[in-house]
């Protein structure tokens, strides 16, 4: 078990290194000179050259990469061009809203989608099944920001049940915090619910057709334990896999959701950075989000050994 975890950890190193190389090259091979962006419109060519030298942009590409990756490994993601702060500091400052949104969405989406998927598979072919699959196809097709504005219009503007936008730190109380996360979580989670519900239904249908399920039914296991303990646990591996892969969907959606609901998180940070061409922030956020994605999927791989003891690599 420990050896397996260590092997999986080592396997993520080349992937993260490649991610770092791609992110580095992205900024350095793109047209447009960061030095002239920093220097501003009225700079002379001497001033631009001085900034290039100060940033190390005049050194060979591999040397720049070595310095940059060395800094990244020490937690230094560079300096923002606009804010007079380090990128790591800015990301940490904005982390709470984003993590809050991610956690509430994850809990909401996983609970709803697995319930829907299990029910749809249990009552396969029924009206309920068709309704769930309809929701799944639609949820996949409506973009986050359209759902977001629809929810805002109905529940915040027309009905006035929930705040339109904004974020309150959890330190200011549980309800003010939660109240502002309900609509964003629904908007962000919809596509994720669609994805997981679909896979849950498919794998549950397969498991329910197994011989051991008929045996369980024959020996008189009640419906609930039969569905949850016997079937769902055996269907867990593909479901957990898609939960992990779907995190990519959440990360992309976070950026848009934070813009719709005006949540001052990491997503807003990167959107604001686009307009200012603040490339160290864009670079840093991509690297952090990719790292999170790789770690989540590492956790998913490790969880296989819990759901299916036969998994021994």
């Amino acid at each position: 078990m420990i050896a397996y975890i260590i092997r999986r950890l080592i396997a993520t190193i080349p992937v993260m290194l490649l991610v770092a190389i791609i992110v580095f090259l992205l900024v350095h091979l793109a047209p447009g000179d960061p030095a002239s962006v920093i220097a501003g419109d009225n700079a002379t060519s001497d001033q631009i050259a001085a900034i290039r030298a100060a940033l190390g942009l005049d050194r060979p590409l591999w040397e720049q990469f070595a310095i940059w990756i060395g800094n990244v490994l020490q937690g230094d993601l560079g300096h923002s061009l606009f804010w007079n702060r380090s990128v790591s500091e800015l990301i940490l400052q904005r982390a709470e809203p984003t993590i809050s949104l991610a956690i509430t969405t994850l809990i909401l989406a996983v609970t709803i989608s697995i319930t829907l998927g299990v029910l749809a598979a249990w009552k396969a072919g029924s009206g309920l099944d068709r309704a769930v699959m309809g929701v799944a196809v639609t949820g996949f097709s409506v973009p986050v920001f359209v759902v977001g504005y629809l929810l805002v219009f109905v529940f915040a503007i027309q009905l006035g049940w929930l705040p339109v936008q904004g974020y309150r730190p959890i330190a200011e109380g549980l309800w003010p915090w939660l109240e502002r996360l309900i609509l964003p979580s629904i908007a962000l989670g919809l596509a994720y619910v669609a994805l997981i519900a679909r896979i849950t239904r498919t794998t549950m249908l397969e498991v329910l057709a197994e011989d051991y399920m008929r045996t369980a039914e024959a020996k008189g296991v009640a419906t609930r334990p039969m569905l949850l303990k016997h079937a769902l646990k055996n269907a867990a591996v593909p479901i957990v896999t898609i939960v992990g892969i779907g995190v990519a969907l959440l990360i992309g959606g976070v950026v848009i959701t934070e813009t719709v609901f005006n949540i001052p998180g990491i997503g807003r940070l990167v959107v604001d950075a686009i307009a200012r061409r603040d490339y160290p922030i864009i670079q840093g956020v991509i690297l952090v989000f990719s790292g999170v994605y790789v770690l989540v999927n590492l956790a998913v791989d490790i969880s296989y050994t819990f759901f299916d003891p036969r998994v021994r690599y």
Binding site: L26, A30, G32
Partner: protein
């Protein structure tokens, strides 16, 4: 090949069209919606007014659907905060969305096909290519596209390029998986043993087997590309704001949501309908072209 060929006889049989509709309701409904959207997009200059015409006197006019078929009416879908015709902008927006969707689907499946064939057939290339694809998949697609667009500041071509790159790995994985299973089949050994060169084996014997799943994947890529394009435009990292796209329209109208919900509703609804239509066609094609999977899903 087998899957694509199996389709033709069914449609050709007498009374086949009715049977086809009954057996494939999703393809027919989705396809019909798409055809309507395509026609509207192509005929935009003839059915809609000038999407860029600013008329401050006439701003934030509510929609009047009774005038939907009145030529020259500007308040069919209402007007936005600058008095621009929401109907015209929505119709012109369809052009960008469909263009981006079709081009991204074409480029990413073509590139992904050849990279996937190479990875699946040549063991030496496999590890290198697949690790690179793992890394590309680890970077959230929309962020990668944001970075590409933000750093180059281009128009529609750059957006297409930026959305294509993150879509490639999924196609490569799919094609590679098919190649790995096909490669073990006896007819490949037969082809190799009679002296066919690798290039011929790949193009003549392996490639046709990848086409059915590839066509299905292309529809999903197309749907996802349209969503990503709208998201990028919405965030201000996509098509330049002066071009009417659904994402740009929603971004520019969001502050008027409570006063003029139609400025957000119409582009949003069109976006959802087009993507839903493509997904329906994709699901229908998957059921038709891959009967094994279809039986399992049912």
């Amino acid at each position: 090949m087998a899957g694509a060929a199996a389709e033709a006889p069914i449609a050709a049989r007498p009374g086949g069209a009715r049977v086809f509709i009954r057996r494939n309701p999703t393809i027919v409904i989705g396809g019909a919606l798409l055809v309507i959207m395509l026609i509207l997009a192509v005929l935009a200059p003839f059915i809609a007014g000038d999407p860029l015409h600013v008329n401050p006197v006439n701003r934030l006019q509510p929609p009047d659907l009774a005038k939907l078929f009145v030529p020259g009416a500007v308040d069919r879908f209402g007007t936005d905060n600058l008095g621009r015709d929401v109907f015209a902008r929505t119709i012109y927006g369809a052009r960008v969305s469909l263009l981006v969707g079709i081009f991204v689907a074409f480029f990413s499946t073509t590139i992904g096909l050849f990279v996937g064939l190479a990875a699946g057939y040549y063991r030496a290339l496999d590890t290198v290519i697949m690790r690179l694809m793992d890394a590309l998949m680890a970077i959230p697609g929309i962020l990668l596209a944001i970075a590409l667009v933000a750093l180059t500041r281009g128009g529609v071509p750059v957006v297409i390029f930026a959305i294509t790159i993150p879509e490639i790995p999924r196609v490569v994985r799919l094609v590679r998986a098919v190649v790995l299973t096909v490669r073990e089949r006896p007819f490949i050994d037969a082809a190799v043993s009679v002296g066919s060169r690798p290039k011929k084996v790949i193009l003549r014997h392996i490639l046709p087997n990848t086409l059915a799943p590839l066509i299905v994947q292309a529809t999903y890529v197309c749907a996802s590309a349209i969503l990503v394009e709208a998201g990028l435009s919405f965030l201000g990292a996509g098509v330049p704001p002066e071009i009417p796209t659904w994402g740009n329209m929603i971004a520019q109208s969001r502050l008027f949501l409570s006063r003029a919900p139609w400025t957000v509703f119409f582009p949003g609804a069109c976006l959802a309908i087009v993507v839903l239509a493509i997904n329906l066609v994709g699901d229908g094609l998957r059921d038709r072209l891959d009967p094994r999977l279809a039986r399992r899903m049912r």
